[in-house]
Symmetry: C2
DNA sequence: TTTCTTGCAAAGAGTTTGCAGCTTC
DNA sequence: GAAGCTGCAAACTCTTTGCAAGAAA
């Protein structure tokens, strides 16, 4: 059974990038925190727990590399920090986000939802879509329920 | 006939903010470049052409203020700079963007397009939507046509 | 007058880069 | 052994803040 880590390793190798312990540690952290939306600093601190000798610059360089390889997506919720989000394997489209204005939580929507909209945009604006970013800002279900009780 | 500038002035006054020449000059620049997606630095340089004594910090403070008043929206296309986009008057929803990966142009879509999607998200995720950000990355119609010729 | 606002310069935050040394293949 | 990678520190970019002087109501 080939793990996700293995596949990412292969992808690195196939583009003749070396698989260093630092890179592996970084990928592991990303896999272990798939649900989260970690900043470079977050990733750095988590990697440091297990590999204390790693440098912040290496984490930045690794994240940049993984972004290039489309293993992760670099996203920005407007708070001045870039966040890195593992791509869902096999997913054709980048997933969407729900950002709660109250508690700051970020939930993911894996469903596509934009199929029809994309068709309209491609036809009406003659724009060839390669990727998208969709984020809703509002009140999440948890804060919603809390407010009602 | 009340101009758009007048209405923005009133809005400032109604929240007991003072209307300084610097703020007026900044708003004017935004109105004159409604189609563009100016960064703070861009706005600063444009304001400076007519009011050379203005400081960059004032522009940042004014843009922050206008964002608070929902006169402009602060957006981020992932290039490390915040951009400021005048809200379409009367529009209930924030418009969408088409970012061309080839020439870097940013076009706007004023149509809503997300009505159905929002309904689904609100119902299925029990998420109260307050705002959204939708950006498509791809090839714009100009580059498209250029490539074909 | 009193409060708000400005410009400047300095500080801050996040990210990138140069470089010498070390690792991977 | 050559090419690539790393950690460190310094540099850089964008943005925010402290403060004394100035302007608006």
């Amino acid at each position: 059974m080939e793990s996700r880590l293995d596949r990412i390793k292969k992808q690195l190798h196939s583009q003749s990038y070396k698989l260093t312990p630092q890179r592996e540690a970084t990928v592991r952290v990303l896999l272990e925190h798939e649900e989260d939306h970690l900043s470079a600093e977050d990733v750095y601190l988590l990697v440091k727990e297990k590999s204390p000798e790693i440098g912040l610059a290496t984490v930045y360089r690794t994240l940049e590399l993984l972004t290039e390889l489309k293993v992760v997506d670099k996203i920005n919720f407007g708070d001045g920090v870039s966040r890195y989000d593992l791509r869902t394997e096999g997913a054709e489209h980048f997933h969407h986000h729900l950002v709660c204005l109250e508690c700051g939580a970020v939930d993911e929507i894996q469903e596509d939802l934009l199929g029809d909209v994309e068709k309209i945009v491609e036809e009406r604006w003659n724009f060839k879509i390669k990727d998208h970013r969709l984020t809703f800002h509002g009140i999440c279900h948890r804060c919603h329920e809390k407010a009602e009780s």
